[in-house]
Amino acid sequence: MSEPAAPAAGRAGMRKELPEHFRDYRNVWVFIELERGEVHPVSWELMGEGRKLADKLGVDLCAVVLGQKDEATRTAIRMTWAYGADICYICKDKVLADYRNEPYTSALTGLVNAYKPEILLLGATTLGRDLAGSVATTLKTGLTADATELEIDHEMSLAATRPTFGGTLLCTIHTLNFRPQMATVRPRVMAMPEPDMKRPSGRSVWYTLGVAEDDVITKVLEFVADATTNDVNLAYADIVVAGGMGLQSAANFKLVRDLAAVLGGEYGCSRPVIQKGWMPSERQIGQTGKTIRPRLYIAAGISGAIQHRVGVEGADLIIAINTDPQAKIFEFAHLGVVADALQVLPALTEAFAKRLGRETRILEEA
């Protein structure tokens, strides 16, 4: 294992001057999450965000691709150029075929110590969080989980904003005098950039891992793919209807499902509904559930706590229905209805069915 860079002396975060040995840390890195032949979309979302940070700092945007020697890895590397990479750090080794903490931590910390990035971003997936925690601890640097906003401040430091105190407030976190500054970001929080397939290739840097299979204690015996793909549908749905505690019972969630069905969309709920056991956890929308970016989001009986807000703010249009005119949800909705969701939801279902159905008949006649 590579030795971590020595931490700065004194109170960890407060010194203004970056210690000498961290001053040559440069560039913005994005870890490209390649698992089972597929790049997780969050990696490309982070490339879009990383491009903005790199441009603001006037440095290179770099991708890190770890994987085995196969077509999927080659494709991932090609795509990093299309998504804006100036440099791609590549480690190909058969011990990296499946994700495992030990060899991936070795590869990523090894690369960081060799090439010294100032910022390192990873997706806040189960893989990204497993890896980021190990890498940050090995490097003894700061890591901000689930950032919802990344910016470069006037001191050229990474300002990572995330919900705090169970999602009741936001906080902005800095890693002032340690490098790299690390953050994870949940899928769908950042917008997906358009790939530019004509963008010329950048510079490839190859890294040799030096970990043999016998050195890796943990073995992958099997991968059991999920039967349902609810996850993907909700996060990537373009129409989402969700209910909160205002729905009052598990049975009333039929009203949410009915409206979603008429619109051809997906349905979900807020966190307290999960805690009540009214819906399965994969339907949760918000900071600790799914982040969504639909064209239309209808929130029924949801108060709009910060942990929910950060999961839906990427929606193009938000309609909120709540009996409380002071509910926080009206602070970020586009259309608001102060009314009982139990009455408005079935009325909306009927109105949409009628309007869209009528339009359908007209279309068919034409």
């Binding site: 890591l143 169970g166 999602g167 890693t175 970020f332 259309l335 279309l363």
Partner: protein
């Protein structure tokens, strides 16, 4: 028997697994309120609970102990009142409880927290090596999921996160097979003790404590360690001073600059309200209406 294979001496008759569960006392998030003017958390009167994910970790630890023998120690870092959480863990069946509490731990970020907990784990392990460390997949107040991996890395434990099931454990071979939640599926992983396992919610059904354990918990001693007693030799690694991250600002997001357009509901039936919503929606976004219509017709 495991002692012979690993070459560790067996100083006493201890058989089975030496398990430590790291748990955190958190405010009941459903009851956190923010002061409307000062934007600070109003902690007073907010009940505390054991982080719900950690309860699943404790239950899984108790099940392994019940099956293989050994002991379960609950370990917590927090203020003195966190003793309540540990007493609860004892009432659910934990054999021992250790609270590490010290003003020097205050303000710890995840790196400093994993330092303090792993130091205490090392001290606990001096009596007898720890085989498995359990913790929840994350806390409900911080939601970072970083402390578990931090402990694993510092102590060189095999790291098994997001575990949805323990398939098998072979004490003689010190081998464990778990199902780990991954994106789009489940990884079946075979690893070795000692390991750190972070568990998913729903991995088991939580038990109610027995009357026997409840009575025992009321009388039992919770071991309380200062930083020094926990084994910390360099306090610079603890608390605010040992935390590379700095919280520069805590704030509530401002309302959207353009306030929500409110649909008037006065003297209207639900059907009329719904029609009004559709009119406003499709006036804002005519393309959405066309697309929805096309989708329905398709």
């Amino acid at each position: 028997m495991s002692d012979d294979l690993t070459g560790n001496p067996a100083p006493d008759s201890f058989k089975g697994l030496n398990i430590v569960v790291c748990l955190k006392q958190v405010p009941d998030s459903a009851q956190i309120r923010v002061h409307p003017v000062t934007n600070t958390i109003m902690r007073q009167g907010v009940p505390t609970i054991i982080n719900p994910y950690d309860l699943f970790a404790l239950e899984e630890a108790l099940r392994l102990r019940d099956q293989y023998g050994g002991q379960v120690t609950a370990l917590c870092m927090g203020p003195p009142m966190a003793e309540d959480a540990l007493r609860r863990a004892l009432s659910l069946g934990a054999d021992k409880a250790v609270l590490i509490t010290d003003r020097r731990f205050a303000g710890s970020d995840t790196l400093a927290t994993s330092f303090a907990l792993s130091t205490a784990l090392t001290t606990i392990g001096q009596e007898r090596p720890v085989d498995v460390v359990f913790t929840g997949k994350q806390t409900i107040d911080g939601d970072t999921a970083q402390v578990g991996p931090g402990i694993a890395r510092r102590l060189g434990l095999n790291q098994l996160t997001y575990v949805a099931a323990i398939d098998s454990l072979d004490l003689a071979r010190r081998e464990i097979v778990v199902r780990r939640r991954a994106e789009g599926g489940v990884q079946v992983l075979q690893s070795k003790l000692p390991c750190l396992i972070t568990v998913m919610e729903g991995i088991n059904d939580l038990r109610r404590g027995s009357i026997h354990d409840m009575l025992r918990a009321a009388r039992a001693n919770v071991t309380v360690w200062s930083a020094e007693q926990a084994g910390v030799t360099n306090p610079m690694m603890c608390g605010l001073r040992g935390s590379p991250t700095v919280v520069k600002k805590v704030f509530a997001p401002s309302p959207r600059s353009e306030p929500a357009e409110m649909v008037t509901t006065e003297a209207k039936r639900p059907a009329q309200v719904a029609e009004a919503v559709l009119d406003l929606l499709f006036a804002r976004n005519p393309k959405l209406e066309a697309d929805l219509t096309a989708r329905k017709g398709a």
